[in-house]
Amino acid sequence: MKIGVLSVQGAVSEHLDHLIRCGVEAVAVKNISMLDEVRGLILPGGESTTIGKLIEIFGLAESIKKRSLEGSLAVFGTCAGMILMARDISDGIDEQPRLGLLDIKVKRNAFGRQRESFETELEFDSFGYPLVGVFIRAPIIEKTGENVEILAKLPEGIIAAKKDNLLTTSFHPELTDDIRVHQYFVEMCKRV
């Protein structure tokens, strides 16, 4: 099974390494023809304004939207990827580009600036033991829509959620050695 990482800008190689460790074929997706080959796509952390703008220019945005809505593509967004996936952004800039795949409302840089970025142990869904979440100028989910399942929370709010073929986290599972979140996504890809 082939799973892609959107390769526009950001932590692409880190996600590719984790996918390879999960035993799947991992590819960096830069254009539409590469997107056609994958069953799942990770939207990595980076700058959401930059990534959002560049995927619109090259028509990737339309393809991602279409395939995820018809259910033939699983999508996992981390950090900036969460912002791109969100239907609602509470404080985006005027032309904040977005894919609007998932019925959630997110707040950008919800914990503050880089100085306030942190790591912490957290409980994630049904995992047997906690995982370390690395939060970098991270967004938070302020509100979830119908049938959106909450997977992890901090006192400040929701930091991971899922619906059907869509998964999102505020933190960066690709920055620790733990591959459980990626395995979780691989299982989701098998079901599309």
Binding site: Q9, G10, A11, G46, D91, S117, E119
Partner: protein, 294 residues
């Protein structure tokens, strides 16, 4: 429990900037142009390097008021520069909440012997390097990101190329050495054996490595990416050109599609007059910023 300012969090911030362009800006308007063009961060400065070079005198940290205005104007990360070794300037910038500090040879060094102990800060630092030894010394002082020094404010990419090639060449040398040879190499480079072993195990620098110092065109950005840069800093190249909006956007595209000549050709068209460049031989030894802080 939340742990702030861990090395993983600081280094992770730079990882999120990979494949992107960080642009020098001196006003709120420029910062907005940079954000709109797709910059992953802006560097807030009082003067771009070309003007610092022209003005002479002592170049210091930017006015906090101006840095704060830029932080208010954009949602992308804001970086700012401090003089080499000037830990008080760094404390001030950390207090303001800038997202990244560049301990930079572009400003006049405050300490000719010591760099800032960057481990003491929660905010991450980027530092310039001309070779692997400099890069690893800065990382051991706590730098979470490295960039080539190049020769700032010249619009001439030749020094950035030299520095990137040198780092890559020295990494390849490390990969080919057995442990007892690494001991000698560590001594010659003035770095710890542990750091060289880390490089050998990873096959690359332990932190992200950008190109900086003389990048003035989309083709320059592509060249540096093809030499192995993780991303690009553009100083004077954008706002010293005739059409900053177009040049900024073209350099962003060229950094992403650095290996696609078709797109490079397209974005390189109609950029207007580039910044005027400087030939290295016309620079006196004392005017070479790259010799600062080694």
């Amino acid at each position: 429990m939340k742990e702030q300012g861990t090395f993983r969090v600081k280094k992770g911030m730079a990882q999120m900037q990979k494949g992107g362009v960080i642009m020098d800006v001196t006003t709120v308007e420029q910062a907005r142009i940079a954000e709109k063009a797709g910059a992953v961060a802006v560097m807030a400065l009082e003067r771009v390097p070309a003007d610092i070079r022209a003005a002479g005198g002592v170049a210091r940290m930017a006015d906090p008021e101006m840095v704060l205005k830029i932080m208010d104007a954009v949602t992308i990360p804001v970086m700012a520069k401090v003089r080499i070794g000037h830990l008080a300037e760094a404390q001030i910038l950390e207090e303001l909440g800038v997202d990244y500090i560049d301990e930079s040879e572009v400003l006049t060094p405050a300490d000719e012997q010591y760099h800032i102990n960057k481990h003491l800060f929660k905010v991450p630092f980027v530092c310039g390097a001309r070779n692997l030894g400099e890069a690893l010394r800065r990382i051991s002082e706590g730098a979470a990101m490295i960039r080539t020094k190049g020769e700032p404010g010249t619009g001439n990419v030749v020094e950035a190329v030299r520095h990137m090639r040198k780092v890559m060449d020295e990494i390849r040398q490390v990969l080919g050495k057995i442990d007892d040879e690494l001991v000698v190499m560590a001594k010659e480079m003035g770095v710890s054996l542990e750091m060289l072993k880390e490089v050998k195990n990873a096959g690359c620098l332990p932190v992200v490595n950008f190109a900086a110092g003389g990048i003035a065109s989309p083709a320059d950005a592509s060249l540096m990416m093809q030499l192995g840069s993780d991303g690009i800093f553009v100083g004077s190249g954008i706002f010293k050109s005739e059409k900053p909006e177009i040049v900024a956007e073209a350099i962003v595209q060229a950094t992403l599609h650095y290996d696609d000549p078709k797109i490079l050709a397209k974005v390189s068209k109609g950029l207007g007059e580039a910044m005027p460049g400087l030939e290295m031989s016309s620079l006196a030894e004392a005017d070479r910023m790259q010799e600062r802080g080694i």
